[in-house]
Symmetry: C2
């Protein structure tokens, strides 16, 4: 048994008690969340989201690259969301190494230097502001007046807004 | 009150009963999930994930672009995950339009054609296979022998493996 097999057994249990089969495609709350992929950051539990409420976009760091701009553009233009919540968190792996180290390590092992930025950062709040700035600078995202950024503390479960 | 304010009130409630403050950074199950951002796809509920279990990576379509390769490379190389679960779903917005339509619409409104592919698709299972193929073709992801892809049915809550 792999961990994947265990999770598939959980999915069978989920389906047995599933009752949310008639929800519409557009998110009910009109919100898109962009958060770090970190295992300790349970976006559904933290924000009290239920099935159908919000788009959830996640990656290493919770940063905003072209792929998050693509997802947010689709979210707002086609599926009616208007508010964006950004979440970084304490003890983030992205604080523990540098782009140069990571790229050099891959190049040593594989002979190929990745063609993308690794998007590491040295200050959590600064990177939340960087993510907000990338969104508000994008011509592809129509609604940029309700973008708010937060740092989640994995030690205490609390969310603090970045001003 | 915005929808964001309501979700922040939920976050205050979450913090009051929070007890998972001592979890380590690496995901306990050694799994990374790549799923669509769709609001109806509750990855935590579906897979029975708890805080600390798995990396969760999400975007429009649950597709694999450079940003997902970046996140998966960090997940495996620095944080020890070895299994990957890909989840697309029925009634996906990405089936309802084309790259060309979306890019032309943005170009008409803003005068700027996006420099990125929109990653729409016409067949769910084919796109799951495409995502698996992009991962297994990537030199930047060391563990490529436990990559499995699924379609989640938003109507019934069931998960079906793509072979």
């Amino acid at each position: 048994m792999t961990a994947t097999d265990d999770l598939l057994a959980n999915a069978e249990r989920y389906a047995r008690t599933f009752t949310a089969g008639d929800l519409p495609l557009p998110p009910g709350l009109g919100v898109a969340v962009v958060a770090c992929m970190d295992a300790r950051l349970n976006v559904y539990g933290l924000l009290g989201l239920a099935e159908g409420d919000a788009h959830v976009i996640r990656n290493a760091g919770g940063v905003v690259t072209d792929d998050e701009i693509r997802s947010l553009a689709i979210s707002q233009r086609l599926l009616g969301t208007r508010e964006i919540i950004l979440i970084h968190h304490t003890d983030c792996g992205m604080l523990t190494f540098t782009d140069e180290e990571f790229r050099a390590g891959i190049a040593r092992e594989t002979g190929i230097r990745p063609p993308w930025a690794v998007e590491t950062f040295t200050d959590l709040e600064d990177d939340v502001r960087q993510s907000i700035a990338r969104i508000t600078a994008s011509p592809f995202i129509p609604h940029r007046d309700a973008v708010r950024g937060f740092v989640y503390a994995v030690e205490t479960g609390t969310l603090t807004e970045v001003r």
